[in-house]
């Protein structure tokens, strides 16, 4: 977990968080893409763990998941990808994933293996704070930061519940909707950047639909310590 905190310690400029789906289009190329993101200056590497039914994702990531799965990507190969990246880099690695592949492997086993391979944080896209007690407890025992989403529809009461469980940073969903390219950054993003800091000192990341350097710039201007995906 230390690696994520290091990114934000005494940070003056926004951090950049690059995303790619692990195993897309195959294990070898996926490792090259991840390394290229790191070489290009990503401060935190976000690895999508492919799932057959990614309900929070738009067509771009759906297709990436399909490519990864059809090239034979499994949980084992994904841990392998992480170990391969870790040989060369100390950049924090965060999984973005869905619950069933954790549950099916066994929550404890999944988090232990994730930690051993070098993962720093895990965000489960279909796990709201209400369902997260067991996972959060195991994450803490395995030294993995539980990362949570906060959406434009999240009420202040829910934000208060979420920040109690969350570690590492908070992932603000910049649009009402699924992942994918958008023409503009919605006003929802600035609303979140105004509301969330009232309840927490955790760093704030902004993702979903941040599609260009202009978008990133606009978001960074809107909130201190913003990370942009």
């Amino acid at each position: 977990m230390g690696r994520i905190e290091d990114v934000f310690r005494e940070r003056k400029s926004p951090a950049f968080m690059g995303f790619t789906v692990a195993g897309d289009p195959c294990q070898k190329t996926s490792i090259r893409i991840a390394k290229a993101l790191i070489a290009g200056g990503t401060d935190i590497l976000e690895l999508g763990v492919p799932f057959s039914d990614p309900v929070a994702d738009g067509p771009t990531i759906q297709r990436a998941d399909e490519r990864a799965l059809s090239s034979g990507t499994t949980t084992d190969t994904i841990f392998g990808i992480v170990r391969e990246i870790r040989k060369e880099s100390a950049v924090p690695i965060v999984f973005l994933k869905y619950y069933n592949t954790v549950l099916h492997r066994g929550i404890r086993d999944f988090y232990r293996e994730a930690h051993e391979s070098g993962v720093d944080g895990i965000l489960i896209a279909d796990m709201p704070v209400e369902e997260s007690e067991e996972v959060t407890r195991i994450a803490a025992a395995c030294d993995i930061a539980p990362i949570f989403l906060i959406a434009p529809t999240t009420t202040d009461a829910r934000i208060r519940k979420i920040v109690k469980q969350a570690e590492g940073y908070l992932y603000l969903v910049a649009v009402l909707g699924v992942t994918g390219v958008r023409k503009t950054v919605s006003s929802d993003a600035s609303d979140l950047l105004r509301r969330v800091p009232m309840h927490t000192d955790l760093p704030l990341a902004l993702g979903f639909g941040i599609s260009s350097p202009e978008h990133a710039g606009a978001c960074a201007a809107g909130g201190a310590g913003t990370i942009v995906k």
Binding site: N100, H104, D126, P128, E131, V178
Partner: protein, 391 residues
């Protein structure tokens, strides 16, 4: 009301993206408010009677009773307006959507029966409807696509993944994630996150309440066995639920497809393991890595890798039993009921009929067996005639 906390034993829950949580909590509150509300229930009751054609009959089938050696009754949900039990749920949820002030209805559909029921309700309540349907299903249930469009609904073919009900459901989720503020998502079965499994069960339990009253009136006692097909599980839970505390055998029939050994089936409770899909923890057909498996069934309405969480609980605590029948036996039952009783069942419902045919030896002459005839077969005749032509 069990299930009120969102859990059925360990199953159920709300495994959804954060964006949906507020809408689900709002929906739960709205549902709990109308659930015991006299005015709402009066409105629903009058729609059920005047518009949907309830109460549905319990038909004694003399011919097949003689042939199978037990007393067979059919609960005639095929006679509900629209052709299946699906409208029971839609009238309830449609009215709720209206009470909540929602401006647009979306739904997923497999066989198209739920889509048709949604289109009916949208037209009747004056709300626009968009229905997600797997591209393969739009072809094998083309008649229902036309019916939905005729009633003003927009049918959106889903081309991702397996191009059947599972992916139609995922697309409806994605739509709702982006439109939660003004859109109501009508889930068509007892699946999905809380409060859907609870709410849909409550709206479908009218089937079991009517069946119970009628069988006691006619036979002076409760039935020995109740048999229903299980896709997501809404017609089954609807007829099971009012009998849960009675000494009545409850049997749910899943789609055995080409045989469980072949992997080409949708028999979630018979062959799956606990897992999370579309917001709920229940049994799930999945591979060794927790990826959801493609399914197969002759009937689009049963072609789904998940199942309602309450059925998962009833399986584990053995209050209900689940078995699967194969496509070939379903086709036989489809013809059998048509020829002997003059009732053409939906392929989904024919699964329940097939089970009783295949297991007639289990029952004694005086045993009362109630089969939930969840829908009529008109939607299936063109596909079945093709299948019969080539066998």
């Amino acid at each position: 009301m069990e299930g009120k906390t969102g859990r059925f034993g360990d199953y159920g829950g709300q495994y959804v993206p954060e964006t949906m949580m507020n809408a689900l909590q709002e929906l739960e509150a709205a549902f709990l408010k109308i659930h015991g509300d006299k005015e709402f229930n009066r409105e629903l009751f009058s729609l059920q009677q005047e518009f949907a054609g309830r109460q549905t009959p319990l038909t004694f089938c003399g011919n097949i009773s003689e042939e199978l050696g037990c007393k067979v009754y059919l609960k005639r949900e095929d006679l509900v307006h629209g052709g299946s039990h699906k409208l029971n749920n839609m009238l309830g949820q449609g009215l709720l959507a209206k009470h909540m002030g929602k401006k647009r209805l979306i739904a997923e559909t497999g066989a198209g029966q739920h889509g048709v029921a949604t289109a009916i309700v949208g037209a009747a309540l004056g709300l626009p409807v968009e229905v997600y349907m797997g591209e393969i299903d739009t072809r094998r249930q083309a008649l229902n696509v036309f019916r939905m469009e005729l009633m003003g609904a927009k049918v959106i073919p889903v081309r991702s993944g397996t191009r059947t009900l599972k992916d139609a459901t995922s697309e409806a989720f994605r739509d709702w994630v982006a439109t939660v503020l003004d859109t109501y998502y009508l889930i068509g079965s007892v699946v999905g996150p809380h409060p859907y499994p609870l709410m849909v069960r409550e709206f479908q339990s009218v089937i079991g309440r009517e069946a119970r009253e009628e069988i006691v009136r006619r036979e002076g006692r409760l039935p020995d066995s109740i048999v229903a097909c299980v896709g997501g599980g809404s017609n089954a839970i609807g007829i099971f639920h009012p009998f849960l505390n009675d000494d009545v055998e409850l049997i749910g029939i899943e789609a055995g497809g080409k045989g469980i050994g072949t992997g080409e089936h949708s028999a979630t409770l018979c062959a799956g393991e606990p897992g999370v899909l579309h917001g709920t923890l229940s049994y799930l057909l999945q591979d060794a890595d927790g990826q959801v498996l493609p399914t197969h069934s002759i009937s689009a309405g049963l072609d789904y890798p998940g199942v309602g969480p309450e059925h998962a609980m009833l399986k584990d605590n053995k209050r209900a039993h689940y078995a699967a029948v194969k496509d070939a036996d379903v086709l036989e039952a489809f013809s059998f009921l048509s020829k002997r009783e003059g009732i053409i069942p939906a392929l989904e419902s024919a699964h329940a009929v097939a089970y009783v045919m295949k297991n007639a030896g289990r029952f004694d002459t005086n045993d009362i067996v109630v089969i939930n005839l969840s829908g009529r077969g008109d939607k299936d005749v063109s596909e079945v005639s093709k299948m019969m032509g080539c066998t």
